[in-house]
Amino acid sequence: MPAGVLGAGFDHDGDGDVDLADFSDFVSCLDGPGVDATPECAGIHDGDGDLDVDLADFKAFQRAFGRIGAVQVAELTFTGDSFHAVAVDCPSGSCPYYGTPHWLDQNLDGDAEDSGDHKYPVAYIRNTQIGISGLEFGVVPADLELEDVPVLGTGPDGMVWEGTGTVSSGVLVVTGTLTSDAPLPNTVVFYDTLDIDWQVALDGANFYPSGTTRNPVYVTYADPMGQRLESYFYIGTNAANGQDEEQPAIDAIWDEFTDLYVLNAHGEVLGYYRDILCAGDCTYYTASTLVYYTYSQCGGWADLMIQCLQTQGIGGSQFITIEPRTDGTIPDDCGYTPSPAAGFLVKNYQFTSGDPGPCPTYPFRFNDPCSYYGQWPTPDVTDLPGIPGQDNENPASWFARHFIVKINLQYYDPSYGAGPFTGTTDQATAAWEWGAIAGYWGIAESSTSRLGVRRDVPQIRETFFDQ
């Protein structure tokens, strides 16, 4: 058993202290290095966990000798001026926040993994102090009645929490809120678990290990905004770990999207459309549905990047819609005026016919993959493996519109991990268009609503970035 767990740690007779009675039992177990101890001996006297009882364990015994009781941390709640609750990933717009206490070890076995236990994630802003309230320990023997018992917690990066509490009825309740003497690092930090080693001095002077709490802690660049789902914190903080300036933090978070391999807080890979070829069959459009169901349309990916930035307190990013122009730049199609339908094909597509189609504006006959419009018996356009998207080598590629993100005058396309596209809006649009677009579709035959495609990407801005 780990040191500090009630009943363990050299307390052979289980009376909460370590005294001569326990020393007698220790000596009977002392078989030397490399000799497998019996389960009974190992469970109580193998202080270093190497399955024997030797002189190394005797040193630990000496340190524990005189302890008047055993203490194990049971629960705590994070607090403080820069504390931010983290919301549970869920597909709706109003996901619940993780409750309190944030650490709960009901059976006092040293972890928060058992039924009824939990360890919830929390978030803080960098360079601020962590407060801890509601700190309680289990104590044996249960008949101890003590006041002003010193409590000490030691965390990473020089953070220490000190306080005192009262022991009664087998519980040590620490008074008030303990605030770390040192602040968090002045950078974004991803603590997979922020381990705090607790020690308690029941006798008022000698501290003994009393367990370790291990909560995921996300330390953000600035004051978190938006929905604050766990996966938004996880992605952003993990990516921007160590950053202390805004633009490098943005760059680092963007890098997370460029390898087309993004994980949510539960270790699941997030995808762009996944195995869905018809965009209309994918009914997930938001970041919350993306991290919950693990795939979405492009709108969910653009939203995810914005949300990841917002949980870092980085605002000002914009959700940008890209649509074909309908302002007369493109000639009217051969169906309706004004054009009721228009969209684009994302690379790659094969154009196989030299035979002019029925519509000069959209000369290549095209069947949309989902029979949303009329279908030609012999189309001229074939979908080929093309630009890979997030966790998807060949995602859906027939769209009416697309969604990207604009940050500080730069354009990012999270669905494909492409960008940033820089320059003026026109320049950025052209760069995106040349990189991504195989052609533009519109109605080529009004009586049947069949589609045609313009293959060439013209030297003009043909898409329209809504801002």
Binding site: G280, Y285, G299, Q318
Partner: protein, 269 residues
């Protein structure tokens, strides 16, 4: 179905408001208006649906200020949302800045639509009054107040004159971009702005595609020497704007860098 049911339930009060706009407006128009508001996307997708193509929307955004204010002040949660929609469409920033207390209003109001990648398809999403007002602030001022009055006060505390905010001028230019006359009028107003606001509007307007480079250079060339010197130096030149306060260094740095480039001699011959 959900939208339609809602439209009927709050049609009466809205019809009263609409009646003040047009003799032909009535319950049907009110229902249409609510249904059409519900498909107006929020965030940065405001202009996807042109109110001119929706008769009921065209009517409702002409609602007189008194009726609009009554909807916000006395209406139920859905009517408060409609009032916010009208104020937002009318660009009445002073009103929007006077109703920040509604950031505490968690009652459900008019839904909004998310455009999808598919033609003509939108996904209806629910929202509270606070969420809707937050999205309106995001649209006009570029910052997320996160349904928090406290956050709003932190970001907007020093704002005393909404006409001196840079971001709303960019929004006005964007909304007017298909109307050359309206665009020209806004650009004329920009030339009358105080210098410390004008340079930022011209710079960000150029990088958002609303000014040509010669237009932006012309505006910037007319700045006074002290302002130009401040742009070239390290002085605090950006207006006390929520967007710049929230984004701290980055937006400030980018705006100044881009402006310095526009102030430098053009490489074009």
């Amino acid at each position: 179905m959900g939208i339609r049911q809602y439209a009927i339930s709050c049609g009466f009060a809205l019809a009263v408001a609409l009646a003040a706009v047009s003799p032909s407006a009535g319950i049907d128009s009110a229902s249409d208006a609510v249904a059409q508001i519900a498909v107006v996307p929020r965030h940065n997708q405001w202009s996807l649906i042109d109110p001119d193509q929706h008769r009921a929307l065209r009517n409702i955004i002409k609602t007189p200020a008194a009726d609009r204010d009554r909807l916000i002040r006395l209406g139920d949660a859905r009517e408060r949302g409609i009032g916010i929609f009208i104020a937002e469409q009318q660009g009445d920033l002073d009103l929007l800045l006077s109703i920040a207390h509604l950031l505490d209003d968690d009652d459900p109001t008019i839904p909004y639509a998310l455009p999808t990648a598919m033609p003509e398809q939108y996904a209806t999403q629910t929202q509270t009054v606070a969420e809707y007002l937050s999205s309106v602030y995001l649209e006009w001022f570029g910052v997320d107040v996160d349904r928090s009055v406290e956050k709003y006060e932190e970001l907007f505390g020093n704002v005393t004159d909404s006409s001196r905010l840079v971001r709303p001028w960019i929004v006005r230019l964007r909304r007017a971009r298909d109307d050359s006359q309206a665009t020209a009028q806004i650009k004329e107003l920009v030339t009358q702005l105080p210098e410390e606001v004008r340079w930022a509007v011209a710079t960000l307007g150029y990088y958002n595609g609303f000014y040509t480079e010669p237009e932006a250079r012309t505006i910037l060339s007319k700045l006074s020497a002290p302002i130009k010197n401040a742009i070239q130096g390290e002085g605090r030149l950006l207006p006390e704007e929520p967007l710049f306060r929230m984004n701290r260094g980055t937006y400030r740095t980018l705006a100044l860098e881009h402006c310095r480039r526009l102030l430098s001699p053009s490489s074009d011959k």
